[in-house]
Amino acid sequence: MKNKVRNFRTEQGMTQQELADAIGVSRQTIFALESSRYVPSTILALKLARIFRKKVEDLFELEKKD
């Protein structure tokens, strides 16, 4: 699954640590998310969407292999 977390984060001028603090996770989690090494839970996806004021579908995109 691809995601646009890095794009939206940089658009809003946030650091990985700021985003991590905002949604209550570690910076490693944000890094793993942005590098597509980790697929978040629904709760985390909804929290990210709320922070960026976007829909979950705008943030995450299914790939053929999914």
Binding site: Q16, A20, G24, V25, S26, R27, Q28, T29, F31, A32, Y38, P40, S41, I43, L44
Partner: protein, 148 residues
Amino acid sequence: MKKFLLPHRFKKMGLLLLPLGSFLWVAGQLGVFNSLLNALGFRYPGFQLILITGFFSFLAGIYFLIFSREKTEDEFIQHIRLESFHFAALFQLIFFVVLFLGMAIFSLEPGGESAFLLLLAGSILLFWLAYIIRFNYILHVKNRVTRE
């Protein structure tokens, strides 16, 4: 999974208790404290006390290291925990297969029933040690990569 976890400060206690307990147990078995206990006239129950203290410190150390929270215990950390449990289970299974194949094919039998029981007890500890090593190694690698 979070409800089974201890506060983060227990991890440091685990880091202290695990090597301390191992040292006490091994040194006690090797008789390192014998001359001191004899000199103090405390051979019994001093020897037993050292062995029991060492063994339970070791177990407490393992428990604290496995079940203490990380500073930020989030779902990614729990994902790594789960993967590490899988890894440890697979590692132990392979150990069992190799152990029993070795015994069956090459007739490598441990000396006596007590040695065999010791091997089985060791394989249980192997599970926890594999978990601790794998979990902390992955955390270390993730931390390093994130810092870079």
